[in-house]
């Protein structure tokens, strides 16, 4: 099915334009004036000769003096009878034929010359134009592509450039053509893809495109059937809802909930403050919003890819792929404490040229409990945005000098940001949530800046925003005396700092044997080193905590490590400790993450010892 959809997408690119050409020209044929399109605007039937049968020469006499014939036929040209002798006959008149003409009254052989051709043309023409010229031509002809015999072309000086084609052998009027007809011929050429001189639709290119189009239609048809079976073509009226029985992961009934049927379960559950984890926001690509439904619920193609066969059999589905009409029971698998909250911004401050520390108060007085490393999903409303943040401190304006200022509008979306709370605030629960958010800027108008980060970093104090959480996908393993190594860069600081503070606090309180905690943090310049003073202070206070900042573009007087954080790690990893029992925690930009994971793999670090928080 996936292959089929891919095929469909690529075929659409290949076939798309030609399909429009076919449809457009087809519509033209449907609407065109057929009288004009025939080219017969000024065509008339020539007057036929009144023949006196008794004056006709005996055919026998003519034949005895001529080349052998297949047929001798009395015809009329310019109101005079002639015998047309066909020496070699084609299956059709436009196929190769061999003719000669004889006067039917005198038996004189006649040769069709320019004078006669001009008269013949005039006898079939009722327009007001005069003859411009008459020329004898050999095939092929643009106006009559299928014709194989020599013809005379008589051109008229009228407003539609009429041309009369006359068979050079028999004097027969083959066809009238004019600009209207030629215009239609261009459409036929496009419709038949007849770019050569074939005069038909039996060419390679149209056969190929027809086959592609056929496959395109077939794959589309199958796709449609699949969507139909998955119930994605339902028509719904109004905002109806349906009652579902909700169970927790121990199959205990939580209660009955009314869920709207016009939205998927993922969004429907949010109305009841049940927020499932989802990084794709309902697109069916992250596979995180797993729930259990009645096992009879249809399986979508996204679920075939993201869930195992066993899971599907047990009724595991993705909440974003189904709605409340499809099931009666819904079992939550990861019951999180996640809920929807309304947050009020209380503090917003640049801590580096591109990164802000934001603090929000949870309205309603509730306190959130969560493990360090957790994140919240913010619901960004549709709004206008600006490419350069307002209230930019003077000290950082220099760093934004290359960014073009522009305004843009964006649609609603959701974005997840890691909590940066630490320092003992977590265990008791906190009413103040802390984030470090990097404003993702865009160099020019061709691309929007990060709409989520720009939006929340430009919020004014006192403004509110909705967010759901906390989601605890990234957190410290159960406490042990294993060494922790944390590697991060940029705004990957937030969850890592939270983890560090959680650990340091815990071990101080419990007064247990201390474990080694190493923090490698990469940035560009000194200004980008977040929480530098605080981290240095912690490393002095706790003998088991080691802080290694590394800069890729340091100023001259920087005495620390230079380069990328993964490079520093490569050269030092073996010096620091035995790599076996170490737990690794990673958070940073994609390049840093993949390089570090590859490095750890080459050092044979067990995958279960690597935890990472991805920027997706």
């Amino acid at each position: 099915m996936l292959l089929l959809k891919k095929l469909h997408k690529w075929l659409s690119l290949l076939v798309g334009l030609q399909l429009l050409v076919w449809l457009g020209t087809g519509l033209y044929f449907n609407l065109m004036d057929h009288q004009k399109a025939s080219g017969n605007q000024y065509k008339q039937t020539p007057v036929v000769a009144q023949v006196d049968i008794n004056r006709l020469v005996e055919p026998q006499l003519v034949l005895s003096q001529s080349k052998q014939v297949v047929s001798l036929k009395q015809i009329s040209l310019l109101e005079h009878p002639y015998y047309l002798l066909t020496h070699n006959k084609g299956l059709y008149s436009h196929f190769d034929n061999d003719y000669s003409l004889v006067d039917a009254y005198t038996a004189e052989p006649v040769v069709i010359d320019e004078t006669m051709v001009r008269k013949l043309a005039q006898s079939s023409y009722n327009g007001k134009g005069v003859i411009k010229n008459a020329v004898k031509l050999s095939p092929p002809y643009e106006d009559i592509p299928r014709e194989q015999n020599e013809v005379w072309q008589v051109n008229y000086a009228d407003y539609i450039q009429t041309s009369v084609y006359i068979d050079a052998g028999s004097g027969r009027i083959i066809k009238h053509s004019n600009d209207d007809k030629r215009f239609v011929d261009i459409f036929f050429m496009l419709h038949f893809m007849d770019y050569g001189t074939e005069g038909s639709f039996n060419n390679v290119q149209i056969i190929l495109f027809s086959l592609f189009t056929l496959f395109f239609s077939l794959t589309g048809f199958i796709w449609t059937i699949e969507l139909l079976f998955n119930g994605q073509y339902k028509v719904r009226f109004g905002n109806k809802s349906r009652t579902l029985a909700l169970f927790d992961k121990d199959l205990e009934l939580i209660g009955e909930f009314d869920l709207a049927t016009n939205t998927n379960l993922l969004d429907g559950l949010i109305d009841h403050d049940i927020a499932l984890s989802s990084t794709c926001g309902g697109g069916g690509t992250c596979g995180q919003c797993k729930v259990r439904l009645d096992s009879s619920v249809k399986v979508t193609s996204a679920e075939h890819v993201l869930l195992t066969k066993e899971q599907l059999q047990q009724g595991y589905r993705l909440a974003c792929q189904h709605d409340a009409t499809e099931t009666k029971r819904l079992t939550l698998i990861d019951v999180t404490k996640a809920k929807k909250y309304l947050l009020e911004l209380t503090h917003s401050e640049f801590i580096s040229p591109y990164i802000k520390e934001l603090r929000f108060k949870v309205l309603g007085g509730e306190k959130l409990k969560f493990k360090a490393g957790a994140h919240l999903r913010f619901y960004i409303p549709p709004a206008k945005g600006i490419s350069i943040p307002a209230r930019l401190p003077d000290a950082f304006k220099y760093h934004w000098r290359d960014i073009e200022y522009f305004e843009y509008e964006h649609q609603a979306c959701s974005r997840s940001y890691s909590l940066a709370n630490g320092d003992g605030q977590i265990e008791a629960g906190t009413n103040e949530l802390k984030f470090t958010v990097k404003i993702q800027n865009a160099p020019n108008k061709s691309i929007y800046p990060g709409v989520g980060s720009s939006y929340i970093c430009n919020l004014g104090l006192g403004q509110t925003i909705e967010a759901a959480g906390p989601f605890e996908d990234f957190h410290a393993k159960p406490s042990s005396n294993k060494t922790m190594m944390l590697i991060g860069a940029g705004s990957g600081m937030a969850p890592l700092k939270s983890l560090i503070e959680e650990q340091l606090c815990f071990y101080q309180k419990e007064r247990k044997e201390t474990r080694g905690i190493y923090f490698f943090y990469g940035a560009r310049t000194e200004e980008d080193l977040l929480y530098k003073d605080e981290l240095y202070r912690l490393s002095r206070k706790y003998p088991n905590f080691f802080y290694y900042p590394v800069l890729s573009r340091p100023h001259k007087n920087w005495s620390g490590a230079k380069g990328y954080v993964q490079d520093l790690l490569t050269s030092n990893i073996n010096k620091i400790c035995q790599i076996d029992g170490v737990e690794f925690y990673l958070c940073g930009p994609p390049n840093m993450m993949s390089a570090t994971i590859n490095l750890l793999k080459t050092k044979n670090v067990d995958a279960t010892n690597i935890a990472f928080d991805e920027f997706i």
Binding site: V70, K89, G450
Partner: protein
């Protein structure tokens, strides 16, 4: 439709294009005699009909075939002559299955102008039919299954199931809807390919967004 050669569809390969020449010595019945018998004859021709020189002409809107050796009237063709003419034109070697004279209500594959005509069916690949004019003895049409399928497909192509006229309302609306669907599909593809890419690159490198 485009895969099949249009000449083949027209049935050109079903018939022999005879080039038998008129034997002058056979014409022992002169035009002057014919003129006496048929004083209003028009469009007179001397041709070969199954290896016999004949006169063909029209008189009072009726067409005639007359033996050029003795002036005997051959038209209208009887069944035996019609079948031998059809066999003469037919290029295959299948046996004659059946024959019938059609004077009214021609089948969809025969023009009304060709009436009256003999339809001679041959037992061969593609169920070929050879149509011979009962008045002139000439080959008026040749059809096989591939032409019939092609014809059906053409009526589907132009969505006219009665006259195969491309200027019908049904086709107009469907073409219009199709163009609309194709354009919206194109716009959708554009957004999926280009706008999504722009969004994705940013989301991937966005802050602590996940």
């Amino acid at each position: 439709m485009v895969i099949f050669d249009i000449d083949y569809i027209h049935g050109n390969s079903l018939v022999v294009n005879h080039q038998a020449k008129v034997n002058v010595d056979e014409i022992t019945y002169p035009l002057s005699a014919l003129a006496k018998q048929y004083p209003d004859a028009k469009n007179i021709a001397v041709e070969v009909f199954i290896e016999q020189a004949v006169y063909r002409f029209t008189e009072h809107d009726e067409k005639y075939v007359v033996n050029a050796s003795n002036g005997e009237k051959i038209s209208p063709l009887n069944k035996v002559v019609a079948i031998s003419a059809a066999k003469h034109y037919y290029s295959g070697d299948g046996a004659v299955l059946e024959s019938e004279l059609i004077t009214d209500n021609p089948p969809f594959e025969l023009s009304r102008r060709a009436l009256p005509a003999w339809r001679v069916n041959f037992d061969d690949f593609g169920s070929p039919s050879i149509y011979v004019s009962a008045q002139t003895g000439k080959l008026v049409s040749k059809r096989h299954e591939f032409w019939r399928i092609f014809d059906l497909m053409f009526s589907l192509h132009v969505m006219d199931y009665e006259e195969e006229d491309p200027s019908n309302k049904l086709l107009f609306w469907f073409t219009l809807f199709s163009i609309f669907a194709a354009i919206t599909g194109g716009v959708l593809s554009y957004f999926v390919i280009f706008k999504n890419r722009a969004k994705n690159t940013l989301d991937k490198s966005m802050g602590v967004a996940r």
